[in-house]
Symmetry: C2
Subunit: 506 residues, 2 copies
Amino acid sequence: MAAEAHQAKWESFKQYVKKMKSYEEAIGLIYWDMRTGAPKKGIAARSEVVGELSGELFKMSVSEQMREFLEYFTQPEHQEGLSRIDKRIVSECKKEYDRSNKIPPERYQEYVVLTSQAESAWEDAKHTADFESFQPYLEKIVAFNHEFIELWGYEGHKYNTLLDMYEPGMTVEKLDQVFGALREQVVPLLSAIQASGRGPENGFLKQTFDQDKQKKFSLFILKEMGYDFEAGRLDETVHPFATGLNPGDVRITTRYLKDDVNSALFGTIHEGGHALYEQNISEELLGTPLCTGTSMGIHESQSRFWENVIGRSRSFWSRYFPDLQANYPGQFDDVSAESFYLATNEVKSSLIRIEADELTYNLHIMIRYEIEKALFDGSVKVADLPRVWNEKYREYLGIEPSNNGDGVLQDVHWSGGAFGYFPSYALGNMYAAQIARTLDRELGGLDELVAQGNLEPVKAWLTEKIYRHGKSLTPAEIILEVTGEELNPRYLVDYLQAKYNDIYSL
Amino acid sequence: MAAEAHQAKWESFKQYVKKMKSYEEAIGLIYWDMRTGAPKKGIAARSEVVGELSGELFKMSVSEQMREFLEYFTQPEHQEGLSRIDKRIVSECKKEYDRSNKIPPERYQEYVVLTSQAESAWEDAKHTADFESFQPYLEKIVAFNHEFIELWGYEGHKYNTLLDMYEPGMTVEKLDQVFGALREQVVPLLSAIQASGRGPENGFLKQTFDQDKQKKFSLFILKEMGYDFEAGRLDETVHPFATGLNPGDVRITTRYLKDDVNSALFGTIHEGGHALYEQNISEELLGTPLCTGTSMGIHESQSRFWENVIGRSRSFWSRYFPDLQANYPGQFDDVSAESFYLATNEVKSSLIRIEADELTYNLHIMIRYEIEKALFDGSVKVADLPRVWNEKYREYLGIEPSNNGDGVLQDVHWSGGAFGYFPSYALGNMYAAQIARTLDRELGGLDELVAQGNLEPVKAWLTEKIYRHGKSLTPAEIILEVTGEELNPRYLVDYLQAKYNDIYSL
């Protein structure tokens, strides 16, 4: 009887978390719809619908019932019959319960209102390059985060608690080590490139490209990647994204710029990489909190693997450039696959993160990482940010913004309180390079497969090693199990050096 | 203090019903998405999301909290401070509470499972024209409805309780009267038309029509009607529909047939009529159960008013035929506005309701009404349906289906237990004609306005008289207030006689 009661309790817990997942899915669909074409006069009422559902979801995550479930299933004697995955479901719910429960609801409510006001204040401030108008908001947001960190608790650096929200288990100690090693190689590499005075011809990238043709080619490449159109769809938005509603419905969006052939293409491949991850999560995780990517960093590793390691490779363009030519008749007649490859890999110090190339992107992230860390150990104040920002750009990239709109105000993240998020992007690059190295070895040559347009084994390997596990393995477990060692920045360094030494004949 | 507590209770009740409305809106959006392009592999999981949200909504509608609210706000001394609309909100919730609460949950659950199985059994049965395979399902569904009627209670005819679900206040007595009067005139009119041996030339309707052009013309006509594209959108589906998620987001769908210029056009106008109703509900009803059309019959009156009274009128084509010609260059060069008008109004006895013309459509409905009524007073058994159906088609329309797929199995309604729904369609025609008569008088000539393409005053008048009230007035109140008398079939008879005597030179 005890066993039956135990089993019934487990079933009831599974139903409970499945219900939470249903709410998440409904909210996800509403957001997708708002961004892709919901009529604007309906948005105000729709936002209240999101508010109701989100409120309900939050209540479920910290309810008395959840507390009872967790109290019961975290007791060692009740964990015995549970599988490894079951235990992860419990610990995932526990983590969210603790995180939400430790903040007094009225403080959290104030914070939500603040960040929502801060986002529009940031938009105005960015537009007018007026840091002072945004500063009071940012100071309050940072203060709130200090307060939350105290409530949540922390080990080592305070910033660790924020990092953990996006990259579970990641710490300042680890990031200092990997970013340090990366920086040591990337900065000289950039200097060498700049000193070489060389740069690819890329004028042919700036023509007028028919939007329907861009869409057609984006769809073609997605198909080549193995994106399942019966489990997803491609739409248009101003800010492209991927959203995994459930593994059978993973939608992506892109944006077509009429004077840029690459923006929509690489954007689509990037979001397609996120989508492959979500489409190939194992069915057994459906309806559980593990049915999603394991971290922002691992997710980003997949978008960047497909976008950069594959999409910006020589072998990719040796295979697909003729298709590109055929897609835009007369527009690339005098261009070779090799010149197109070179043009898509130009390195150039720039002020804006989202426009950065594969190499300098990492430096943009390190700057933000160092600033965030300093905000949370108190060594930098919000008021100092513009000065610190500009100094670091000078130091890392050799350039400095002429106004704060192109500098410290360029990203939306801080206005929403998303401290700890930025490192994911560079972690994604490091994970991607490390995973690519193992994949290359195990499949006997990634370049050959790409050159043949034989991407199916690549997707299958990633599914087997990463995608199917969803959140049932931590980022550290995945990297260790897949590559046999923990995160090591050497692979990204090797990859970047090999690629750019070749391109720039260094 | 008592007044404050009373006020607080009312606010809390309003919040509660607003939350229910939010769930409805989320569910509505999910259904729209499923029908317009959700990836098929995600549907199974999405259906469970709908199940969770619908279950929650149902629980809210019959909860202990709702019981308390209703007990309190239905007491005369607590109704004193409430506005007319507030009282309607209470009575609407009470009606739903009683309806849901009187059915034992396990019986309702069985019924839901049965109807869901019955729908696929019906699809197969229709396809193979095999009534016997569907009969056991239908017998059970009818038996369930008998049981529910006993639980809900009824006044007069048992079928009244079912009618009330779609047309609040409608009774067999009233329908017998209005359908009797209608039948008395429509049947001889149809005979006269058939005896005349005349019929319009309509070969030019059957050409190949480019789909993009069809879409363009549909959008043009919607705009002319005053459909607000900032509060809606037009998509494609196999079975067209309109869905009012909130008054700022009322979406419609249509289906383009490449060999039929009229199908998508009149379908769009029809759904556009439903949409105008939902788009123009007063803002003060937002977030309440009154923020929707008042009944199926009044809703249908609006789709049919725009589709038939306006869209199939001579004045409409005198105004818009040149636009149609310009939209399809070379395809209607030798056709006049008058011939196009005549062709779109051909009367012809046919077996299939959804393909019927404006005149015979009413007869298809009367047949179904008589059968449903007989099923619930016990004078007809499910086993007799094919025979009864065919006899009635012979009697009313002079033709008989050669198989049950084109006969008794043609409609989906009964497989879902939707008895009492069919009369709405013919009620819609009667309401539309009666309302049109008043509108014509008050605006000083509907035909003139339509002939000028001046549809704005028409929409404004309907908004003032009908749309803005949503469900805050009953169908009977609307008809009485707008036209000065209760539902009277004479207006539809007059309209049909005038129209077809002219067209067929009778």
